[in-house]
């Protein structure tokens, strides 16, 4: 069977599985719809959390980012895992003990105000939409690359599937679908990594293979460490060393800020937080944070290996090769525009950091623009520069030097010359990663609107079935909005996702931590803190990304802060504003104090409850 036939097969089978699970787990009450009836075992919740949270960006783009960034790619590895320590220690057990349906529930009840609730709802919806747009785009990208379907149709197919299983099963359907999706995506990620690791280093563990020596048949001699060889190749081509720290714009301050913003953002993402409401007990909430990170680390410890292997393979199999010598994967992917060759006339491909680089990517250029560049370049070559236009200058001017980062994961199986069914499996894995995250986010949007706004603020006496139908219709609307964002994306997939983290870091994390660990913080300081944090972060990101504002150095740092890292500053502003205003405003009431106490004490051990209700006393 061809790659495409296998891809159709895997996509059809995995989609069928998701729909089957959705049908088996369909729900009839809001408890099932919002928190899966609180019956999810810790390990299953860990898997669901892992799938929920490993997005299209983690699966498709991250290894590619690391591959081009080298050491600095660690910000994504550390940032997207370190947050789970914060989650497990500072948030998850307490939110589970509190035991409502959503994150705005906690913020609204702890700070006893509908204003706080509405602010939290707006943050949750805003963060979720920013993030879900990237996922829908990811679905479209996978469809268009593997099945040669138009990217818009890909997005629409993805929307339809998510819509069906999210509305039928709510959180329960989503959870069990995500458990299945976890296995699809991790298998699809690990098999190519293992195969390429055996091929390059002889080690069946890619995580260890990264640190070992290359096979003598590949390196030409024995005892050459992969990373050393990679550093040397990078240096030869004018790139900065793969393992060297703090090169270019990634200085210490920026690496620190971005990593911290991603860590704190992970801990503040509403679709991750809400997962801890679905387990049976506080103890299970802690354990599911452990399982979640363990399952996530399977992919995250492999990604740096895939990144380095693919980097080595790509340079080794392309640089200095003539058209006849090029591997077949190059031709397959050249058609997609993810990788382009603009020869200088000598017929030998050159990949370098300098002006003589001949490898480019299509980026956001349309098919028509791209073929203009190609035709112009061919004319330029044929006429020895008298006619046409040098495609290299044109593409370099647009910042399109080097291959698209997504190609690293998508083309790795072909680089390693794996069987066509494995290549197809990667497509199913990418779809699983994108769909699982999208569905978790859509549920947050749905519960924010139908539970927090409709039920808690607007219509407190709505019936169970009214709430359920509002929840389902909101998912419908949200899917459509997300799809529109996916078709007209507001930026690169991973860039957009990184902004969601900044906003989560600056809004939810400080509010929830202070809500649990301080009894003194009241409504107004907390709301002001959230508004200041999200206002500052949102302003900075929008100004830098859309209005070309210079990044700020705050008079302290050599380089301005990358917009991806501004969430760290936003979080500090939130904490500072809240704590500075706290002494000026009255203490929260007795009932809030009791609530905080009850959130802190372990379950099945509340002394007040035991004395009053125990029959013998």
């Amino acid at each position: 069977m061809s790659v495409q036939a296998w891809t159709y097969f895997f996509v059809a089978v995995s989609f069928g599985l998701y729909l089957f699970i959705a049908w088996r787990t369909r729900v009839r009450d809001t408890r099932g719809f919002y928190v899966a009836g609180r019956g999810v075992p810790a390990a299953a919740n860990g898997m669901a959390t892992a799938a929920d949270w490993m997005s299209a960006a983690s699966f498709i783009s991250m290894a590619g980012l690391i591959s081009t960034m080298g050491y600095a790619g660690g910000v994504y590895l550390m940032g997207w895992t370190g947050g789970y320590v914060l989650l497990a220690l500072l948030l998850a057990p307490y939110l589970r003990k509190f035991g409502h349906y959503t994150v705005p529930d906690f913020v609204g009840d702890r700070f006893a105000s509908d204003l706080a609730r509405v602010v939290a709802v707006s943050c949750a919806i805003f963060i979720s939409f920013t993030y879900v747009a990237g996922q829908m785009r990811g679905v479209g990208v996978v469809f268009s690359r593997f099945l040669e379907v138009d990217i818009h149709i890909g997005v629409i197919i993805g929307m339809a599937i998510v819509f069906i299983y999210a509305t039928l099963g709510g959180m329960k359907g989503i959870t069990w679908t995500q458990v299945a999706q976890y296995w699809v995506l991790i298998t699809a990620f690990l098999i190519p990594a293992i195969a390429i690791s055996i091929k390059l280093t002889g080690s069946p563990l890619p995580q260890a293979g990264l640190g070992t020596t290359l096979e003598p048949s590949i390196a030409g001699q024995s005892g050459v460490y992969l990373l050393e060889k990679l550093n040397q190749i990078q240096a030869d081509l004018g790139f900065s060393s793969y393992t060297a720290t703090f090169v270019g714009g990634w200085d210490k301050v920026n690496v620190f800020c971005v990593a911290l913003a991603l860590m704190v953002g992970t801990a503040g993402l509403p679709h991750v937080l809400v997962r801890f409401y679905t387990v049976k007990s506080v103890r299970a909430a802690r354990w599911s944070a452990f399982w979640a990170l363990l399952f996530i680390s399977l992919l995250y410890l492999t990604a740096p290996a895939t990144a380095a292997f693919a980097r080595y393979y790509m340079i080794d199999s392309l640089n200095g090769k003539t058209a006849q010598e090029l591997p077949s994967w190059f031709e397959n992917w050249e058609m997609t525009g993810l990788i382009l060759w603009m020869d200088d006339g000598d017929g030998v491909m050159r990949y370098s950091a300098g002006d003589d680089n001949e490898i480019f990517r299509g980026g956001s250029l349309s098919q028509a623009e791209l073929s203009d560049v190609r035709v112009g370049h061919q004319a330029w070559l044929d006429s020895d520069g008298a006619d046409g236009a040098d495609g290299r200058t044109a593409l370099r001017a647009r910042g399109l030097s080097g291959p698209d980062r997504d190609i690293i994961v998508l083309a790795t199986p072909e680089m390693a010359e794996l069987a066509s069914w494995i290549i197809a499996l990667v497509a199913a894995g990418g779809l699983a990663a994108a769909l699982s995250t999208a569905s978790g986010l859509l549920l947050v949007i749905s519960s924010s609107v139908s539970h927090d706004l409709y039920y808690r603020v607007l219509r407190p006496n709505a019936t169970e079935s009214q709430r359920l139908s509002v929840g389902r219709s909101v998912i419908g609307v949200a899917v459509v909005v997300a799809g529109v964002f996916g078709i007209y994306p507001p930026g690169f997939v991973s860039q957009v996702v990184a902004f969601a983290f900044g906003l989560a870091a600056a809004s939810f994390f400080p509010a929830i931590v202070l809500g649990i660990f301080s009894k003194r913080v009241g409504t107004i300081p907390a709301v002001c803190g959230i508004l200041a944090g999200i206002g500052f972060t949102g302003f900075y990101i929008i100004a830098c990304v859309f209005f070309d504002m210079e990044t700020w150095t705050f008079g302290l740092f050599a380089n301005g802060i990358n917009p991806q890292g501004i969430g760290s500053i936003g979080m500090l502003i939130n904490f500072t504003v809240t704590l500075a205003l706290t002494p000026l405003f009255p203490r929260p009431g007795k009932d809030i104090e009791h609530m905080v106490d009850s959130v802190r004490e372990p379950e099945d051990a509340g002394p007040a409850v035991m004395i009053e209700t125990a029959p013998e006393h």
């Binding site: 660690g74 460490y225 720290t245 452990f290 680390s297 004490e601 372990p602 007040a608 004395i611």
Partner: protein
């Protein structure tokens, strides 16, 4: 009559005392929780933000013996993630024990009260 009202009075007094002891047990529980949290978060910062970032350039001078990993690079790409997993595991195990101890303390309080 008087015996039973005596008993009621004694019960009220003892449950007050028991309530006080229970509250003290809860305070101890919370302090122990904060302590373990502070230790683990310290390690979290040391591994992730410290070894992976702040000291990564100096750690890169050393190589993990027998591998090609410069130490700082390894912490940023793999080591910190392993530490994170172990930190959560340690927290879960410790809190399980703390929960059990707290429950036992409360049960003793109840029996004495």
């Amino acid at each position: 009559m008087s015996a039973s009202s005596d008993a009621a009075g004694r019960r009220a007094a003892s449950s007050d005392a028991a309530g006080g002891r229970a509250a003290a047990a809860l305070r101890r529980y919370w302090r122990a929780n904060i302590r373990i949290m502070a230790v683990l978060l310290g390690l979290w910062a040391l591994a992730g933000l410290g070894a992976g970032i702040l000291f990564a350039d100096s750690l890169n001078a050393y190589r993990i013996s027998g591998t090609g990993f410069p130490l700082g690079f390894w912490f940023a790409h793999q080591g910190s993630i392993m530490v994170f997993v172990l930190l959560i595991l340690a927290y879960c195990l410790y809190m399980n024990r703390l929960d059990n101890r707290h429950r036992r303390e409360l049960e003793t309080t109840m029996q004495e009260g």
